[in-house]
């Protein structure tokens, strides 16, 4: 464990940029490639890299299992909740036009909120799966 100094320092340098890239992919999805799914996997990959290099216990302090398990259904709820909200505003399920007065703004808000839901579920599922596999190896 002492000999992997380069790995540790290198990982620490890379980790914030991975997260930044995930956020870029998430919020720039309207203009460039990517979206919630890719951003979720990339940010989950960041936590997994952290867990591989610094140990799973350290990773669990960054992303507690309880929070991760809540993220799995939470994203679906955010997604479906957006649809329910548009229904409350008088539109159809997932019809974004009533969200704002301007057509474009309404659709940008709708896509934004839905993509957050995708990000949360995908990220939570990937991290939870990794934790589950890593836990099996220990006991």
């Amino acid at each position: 464990m002492r000999l992997d100094l380069i790995l540790r320092v290198g990982a620490k340098l890379i980790l914030p940029f991975i997260l930044l890239f995930a956020l870029y992919v998430q919020f720039h999805g309207d203009y460039g490639p990517g979206g919630g799914f890719q951003a979720g996997v990339i940010s989950a990959g960041m936590v997994i890299l952290y867990a591989i290099i610094f140990g799973i216990r350290a990773a669990k302090q960054v992303a507690p299992p309880r929070v991760v398990e809540m993220m799995v259904p939470g994203g679906v709820l955010i997604y479906a909740g957006t649809g329910a909200y548009t229904m409350l505003l008088g539109g159809n399920f997932l019809e974004y036009t009533p969200l704002a007065h301007d057509f474009l703004h309404a659709h940008e808000w709708g896509i934004f909120s839905v993509e957050i839901g995708v990000l949360v579920t995908v990220c939570g599922t990937m991290i939870a799966m990794f934790y589950a596999f890593a836990e099996r190896g220990r006991s």
Binding site: V25, G29, D30, Y31, G32, P33, G34, G35, G36, F37, Q38, V41, I42, A44, G45, I48, I52, I56, R57, P65, E69, V72, P73, G75, V76, Y79, A80, G83, F93, L94, Y96, F103, L104, H107, E108, G110, I111, V114, E115, G117, V118, T121, V122, G124, T125, M126, A128, M129, F130, A132, F133, A134, E135, R136, G137, R138, S139
Partner: protein
Amino acid sequence: MILANKAVENAADHAVAAAAANPPGITKLTENAELFVMMVLLTLLAAITLAIIRQRNMFGVVILAGIYSFLMASVMIILDAVDVAMTEASVGAGISTVVLLATLHLTQSIEYPQRRSVLIPFFISVVVGAALVWGTSGLPAFGAKTAPIHGHVAPTFIQYSADHKMPPNIVTAVLADFRGFDTLGEVTVVFTAGIGVLLLLQGGWRVTGNGRRSEDDDEQQGMDSSGGTA
């Protein structure tokens, strides 16, 4: 019209439409270069598949599968499907490799030699493979403008987002807006799969803080389940 052209370019693998916007000489050169890179990538894919078949060390197989995914992501980039390439690189080469390595940690990493005859499986693979290759002869030519997929709903989506000046990446608009309900289904699939894996691997008991289930928890669980069945 310019916006519509740009939209078509961004939307997916509309190689033909993109080529129409470029000068013919450059297009020819790009097409040849793409063809060459594509041939190299596909040859490498075939070589890696053969290596995976011959490899008996599971660790090697996992690493080769990761390389396979990266090559596949490169193929997707050449096909202008950048979103798919990103997904393939991050899921196929990243997360699956990690999960497979974690699985190898639990099992042995050397495959036992096959005792049974391989004739019947070999015969079935050859027949199925031949049927698939025969099936490709019925597909429209690669990048053909007249392919059914480009004539169904895609023009409507492109026209609609051009009319309403929606964001340039139509892939996002199609996934999250035009077909938002489909994507809700996909997210539910991811959710269901995640819950299923967690239930199978954690076995219904609550994993405690230090990652080991204690004897008390186990007994509690046994009592709970017996109570449930009675």
